[in-house]
């Protein structure tokens, strides 16, 4: 899951509509030994409140042992339109995968 999903074109204009709270992206570590994974987003006035809201919203059933909150504005995302150019083509790069090397087949512990 990519963090870009909630960030773009949603950052509220400051001051508009009274007291809009900024948007935060929430990442939850479901158990020790695993990475934090994007869970969703929420609005909060500051980081402390964002953490509390994230706990109530995304971990009501022991879904997490640790939470990160990141201001949505702070996330830089790659442009999906530039996909071809941005992500290197895997074409002709089979040698980056173990399956490319077939001559050693049958050799134990390799």
């Amino acid at each position: 899951m990519s963090p870009q999903e909630s960030t773009e074109s949603t950052t509220p204009a400051p001051g508009e509509g009274g007291h809009r709270w900024p948007l935060w992206e929430v990442f939850v570590r479901s158990s020790r030994g695993l990475s934090h994974v994007h869970a969703g987003s929420l609005h909060a006035p500051d980081a402390a409140m964002a953490l509390r809201n994230a706990r109530d919203l995304y971990t009501r059933r022991n879904e997490g042992v640790s939470i990160w909150v990141v201001p949505s504005d702070a996330i830089a995302a790659s442009d999906p339109d530039a996909k071809g150019a941005f992500f290197e083509s895997p074409q002709g790069k089979d040698y980056r995968h173990a399956t490319y090397y077939t001559k050693s087949e049958g050799v134990k512990h390799l």
């Binding site: 999903e5 909630s6 074109s9 509220p12 500051d46 919203l57 059933r61």
Partner: protein, 323 residues
């Protein structure tokens, strides 16, 4: 999002969009998408979010009068879940470029729609059972296929919602089961609740297929996967079996399995009533909106205080850094 030069970028975007749909892959927020697709999603997701939020009220009505501490805890957890569902969905809608405030305003000003079911009153404790069993049950039937909706953030929100819904339905079923096995009065109360919630819950799937103008397009966009009537028929089939376990009956003599079509059928539904309720003339529309509006207004000082505190903290922090 306005494209300065619509021709080339749009053509490439449209092509990519069609390719995504053809592969049954997912559209993500930054992808190009037709305006109509975006508008239709904003409408559907925000209405869905509003339904979760307004849907807290009929059940919150019984929290203080739950028959035991256990039932009270369960009901509070369920109502809290519904608030969470609303928030997941508002977040998903926001990725389409509509602000949270805009959606909130539309709801309290009465210009937004939400599911007609929540405009019916909850008059007895048994209604908590009937709502969990039938209303959440119908919601599950509707929402499970939406986990595969073509718009990524909507599908992911629905996955989260569906995981939580099954507890809602089971706790409702259990309430009815206990009442049905209780005193004659309790049993009558359970049957009465089932009688009142049956038709409104069937109408949750929306108008019949031949009167549902947006359905076709929604299915072509891979948002909706099954038609209203298909889902409704499937739901009736589930109720038929489950109501036997309760030892109660459905208030519909025309429920039957059609051997030719291999589908469940039900008696006629009052679609005039459905339209009236949707148009704001149901038994509780005014009350529900008024409650939402006053809750929003009464909470304003809390939001303002939190903002003021955050600003003060930020200013103090800036000063410390400067010193």
């Amino acid at each position: 999002m306005a494209h300065e030069a619509p021709s080339e970028a749009d053509a490439a975007g449209a092509e990519n969009f069609e390719r995504i749909l053809a592969k049954d892959s997912r559209v993500e927020p930054k992808d190009w998408m037709p305006d109509a697709y975006r508008r239709s999603l904003v409408r559907q997701i925000s209405q869905h979010a509003h339904s979760e939020i307004i849907g807290m009220q009929p059940e919150a009505n019984w929290i203080t009068r739950a028959p035991s501490l256990k039932r009270k805890s369960i009901l509070m957890a369920k109502v809290q879940d519904e608030a969470g569902h609303g928030l997941y969905l508002y977040s998903a809608a926001e990725t389409l470029g509509t602000s949270r405030d805009e959606m909130m305003d539309a709801l309290v000003q009465g210009t937004a729609r939400y599911s007609s079911i929540f405009n019916y009153p909850t008059v007895t404790w048994a209604d908590m059972g009937a709502i969990g069993w039938m209303v959440d049950g119908a919601a599950i039937c509707n929402q499970v296929p939406l986990c595969r909706a073509s718009y990524g953030p909507y599908g992911r929100a629905m996955v989260r919602v569906c995981k939580e819904e099954s507890f809602h339905q089971r706790q409702g079923f259990e309430i009815l089961l206990e009442l049905a096995n209780g005193t004659p009065e309790q049993r009558a109360m359970a049957q009465d609740a089932v009688n009142r919630w049956y038709a409104p819950s069937l109408m949750m799937f929306g108008p019949p297929d031949d009167d549902s103008p947006n359905s076709k397009q929604s299915m072509a966009w891979n948002i909706k996967r099954f038609s209203n009537d298909e889902l409704r028929n499937r739901f009736v089939g589930m109720l038929v079996e489950q109501v036997k376990v309760l030892g109660l009956t459905l208030p519909d003599d025309e429920v039957r399995f059609n051997e030719d079509t291999k589908k469940w059928e039900h008696g006629p539904l009052d679609w005039e009533e459905f339209k009236e309720v949707l148009a704001g003339r149901g038994p509780c529309n005014a009350q529900r909106l008024e409650r939402r509006r006053s809750a929003h207004e009464d909470g304003a000082w809390v939001r303002e205080a939190a903002s003021a505190y955050a600003e003060k903290q930020a200013a103090e922090h800036a000063q410390k850094v400067a010193a």
